[in-house]
């Protein structure tokens, strides 16, 4: 019965990045929005061709770094001024220049942690299984092949017309992507 269920989408394979890029632009002009491209290396301009989404990562990293710096300085201030004030070497309780190295290190630590965790979270990783993996040729996406997948949740998606559209782009092949 599986072939009666709506597929995840149609996928076209290309053997060159420039072919994928022009195909993606054409698909966008045709009106498709819910689509993604899969490539073995980052391609300049491909994201823009798919319809750019806001990249929140830099902001998250900035917030992470600020939290690390505030937390780092706050911890030292709390320890030395509030919780256990102790005169050491005749220095003031809040001898802030001495607190800068640890403040800096914790800012970098938190920002770097946020860069990695934020990147994974925004990318929905880990996702051990994804419908695109059901296409046998897709294992080449990490070697030399370039794929464009138009998803069935796109309002313009039509099982027949979308396939014909993709076949018109002169791909190496067009494959149905099984649903989740």
């Amino acid at each position: 019965m599986s072939n009666l269920r709506t597929p995840y989408g149609w996928m076209a394979e290309f053997d060159r990045p420039d072919l994928l890029l022009s195909a993606t632009r054409l698909a966008y002009q045709t009106g498709y929005r819910k689509m993604d491209a899969y490539t073995p290396l980052p391609i300049d301009g491909l994201e823009e061709a798919l319809g750019e989404e806001k990249n929140w990562l830099p902001l998250l990293v900035l917030l992470g770094g600020m939290a690390g710096a505030l937390g780092g300085f706050g911890m030292q201030y709390f320890a030395n001024v509030i919780q256990y004030p102790l005169i050491i070497g005749g220095k003031p309780y809040n001898s802030w220049p001495a607190f800068i190295p640890i403040t800096f290190e914790l800012a970098v630590l938190a920002a770097a942690g946020m860069a990695v965790l934020g990147m994974l979270a925004l990318n929905d990783l880990p996702t051990p299984y994804h419908p695109v993996f059901s296409v046998p040729r897709f294992e080449l996406a990490s070697r030399q092949a370039f794929f464009l997948c138009i998803e069935s949740r796109d309002p313009h998606f039509d099982r027949e017309k979308t396939r014909e559209f993709l076949e018109g782009l002169k791909p190496v092949g067009v494959y149905e992507v099984a649903p989740w």
């Binding site: 990562l57 001495a98 190295p101 970098v108 770097a112 996406a141 030399q144």
Partner: protein
């Protein structure tokens, strides 16, 4: 300007992928690899034995005494952490500077960083009189109601080194994700597929993922760059903030950072020259790479030479009896051979690198790199031990002689480093596959123009 290409433009995405991944996936375990791992593992056992004796008997098994409270332990710590810095420099700073030649060595150099930091981290932990209480270094809520001393460079060091280790690990792992996906897709057996699959976390090369991925890489590089400078600066403060003649000098932070990069590049060359030979990677790690690394060594070596000069000049010029004596003692005292040898290793012999024929000769580079490794170890030894052993009062002068456990732990840490490297070479791609594909794309584009 026509430059030798960094990669043969006749390669394809498929061939570079297959070539690099085959080292991990299809190459049989070779006798040489097994022999190398066995030797490294043997040295690792020497480390465990030295640590066992140390834990059972205490730091008295080392040659430490009053006044020499720091000997091989901190020398090894500074040496290892310095070696790590080249990896971060290659992966972060050269990325920001768009130095394409870093592509084929950055993965390996990052791994080297990670393993060197692992070796470095052992020494400060075990040189504590009571190493089982090492966690007292961290600020954690405790029933004693105590905090660590936040105004001390030694505590800054704890934060710097642990941040550095964490960020290096993250950077390295993020760089591996797309390649782990390649290995997942290319592995034959069920078990490798499963392991690489779990590690790749379902990476599928989506264009939207790539964009965030590249942003994350760039931001990590931007964060790692000041971090690496801060780490060795803080290490140098361990010394410079004290009042010991020979340590109390403002040249230390820049001079330590330059020395770290210097020794790190020497270690990268020491490791990559045999590696490209044995694994047939000369098309990837080309002579141009070796030439560039040799030039970085030459430049940082000159910075280090300037550091030595200023150190000596200031010791003489400031007119302090103790500083004057420190200089005299370094030049003519009981440890003078170590000082002269380090000058030969770090300043004398590396001047051969001015000649392009030497830079084009892998064997000569390999030998010079090893000499620099030795020289940089001696530098730290001289800074630490000769400064300590002549205290302000002649009545408290002493000598440091390493015991077999000092030497055992040092040799053993090389075993840990090499064991980790051998395992890394076997199980993970030593050259970044996806970045090599990118490099190839750029090289082909350049050819079309």
């Amino acid at each position: 300007m026509t430059q030798r290409p960094l990669i043969d433009p006749n390669f394809s995405y498929a061939t570079v992928t297959d070539k690099i991944s085959s080292i991990v996936l299809t190459r049989k375990i070779s006798a040489n690899w097994l022999l190398g791992l066995a030797a490294a593992f043997g040295l690792l056992m020497v480390m465990l034995l030295s640590l066992g004796v140390l834990f059972a008997k205490g730091v008295g098994v080392w040659g430490l005494n009053n006044p020499v409270g720091w000997g091989f332990d901190i020398t090894n710590f500074v040496w290892w952490i310095g070696i790590g810095h080249a990896g971060t420099l290659i992966s972060a700073i050269l990325l920001l500077l768009h130095q394409k030649w870093r592509t084929s060595i950055n993965r390996f150099a990052e791994a080297m960083t990670l393993f060197a930091v692992a070796c470095a981290g052992i020494f400060p932990a075990v040189h504590l009189g009571r190493p089982w209480k090492f966690y007292w270094l961290f600020p954690y809520p405790n029933t004693m109601g105590l905090w660590p001393q936040f105004r001390s460079p030694l505590l800054w060091d704890v934060f710097a080194v642990s941040t550095y280790a964490t960020v290096s690990l993250l950077f390295w792992f993020v760089g591996l994700i797309p390649d782990l996906a390649t290995l997942r897709d290319r592995a034959e057996g069920k078990l490798p597929q499963l392991i690489y699959g779990i590690l790749a976390m379902g990476w599928r090369g989506s264009a939207r993922h790539w964009r965030r991925y590249e942003t994350a890489s760039l931001l990590l590089a931007g964060l790692a760059t000041p971090l690496v400078v801060s780490v060795h600066t803080i290490v140098s403060w361990d010394f410079a903030v004290s009042l010991i003649p020979g340590w109390h000098t403002t040249i230390f932070p820049p001079y330590f950072v330059a020395g770290a990069v210097y020794s790190g590049f020497a270690m990268v060359l020491t490791l990559t020259i045999p590696l490209r030979q044995f694994y047939g990677l000369k098309e990837y790690i080309t002579e141009r790479h070796l030439d560039n690394m040799a030039k970085v060594m030459l430049a940082t070596g000159l910075l280090v030479a300037y550091g030595y000069l200023m150190e000596a000049f200031m010791a003489w010029y400031n007119g302090s009896t103790y500083e004057n004596y420190m200089l005299l003692n370094r030049l003519t005292g009981p440890y003078a051979p170590a000082y002269w040898l380090l000058l030969v290793c770090n300043i004398g012999i590396p001047q051969l690198l001015w000649r392009s024929s030497i830079r084009a000769n892998p064997l000569a580079l390999f030998v010079i790199a090893i000499i620099i490794n030795i020289g940089m170890w001696l530098e730290r030894f001289v800074i630490i031990v000769t400064s300590l052993h002549r205290d302000f009062l002649p009545s408290s002068w002493g000598m440091f002689y390493p015991t077999r456990w000092d030497i055992g732990l040092f040799i053993g840490s090389l075993g840990l480093f090499l064991s980790l490297l051998f395992l890394f070479i076997r199980f993970l791609p030593i050259i970044s596959i996806f970045e090599t594909r990118e490099l190839l794309a750029e090289e082909q584009e350049r050819l079309h123009e």
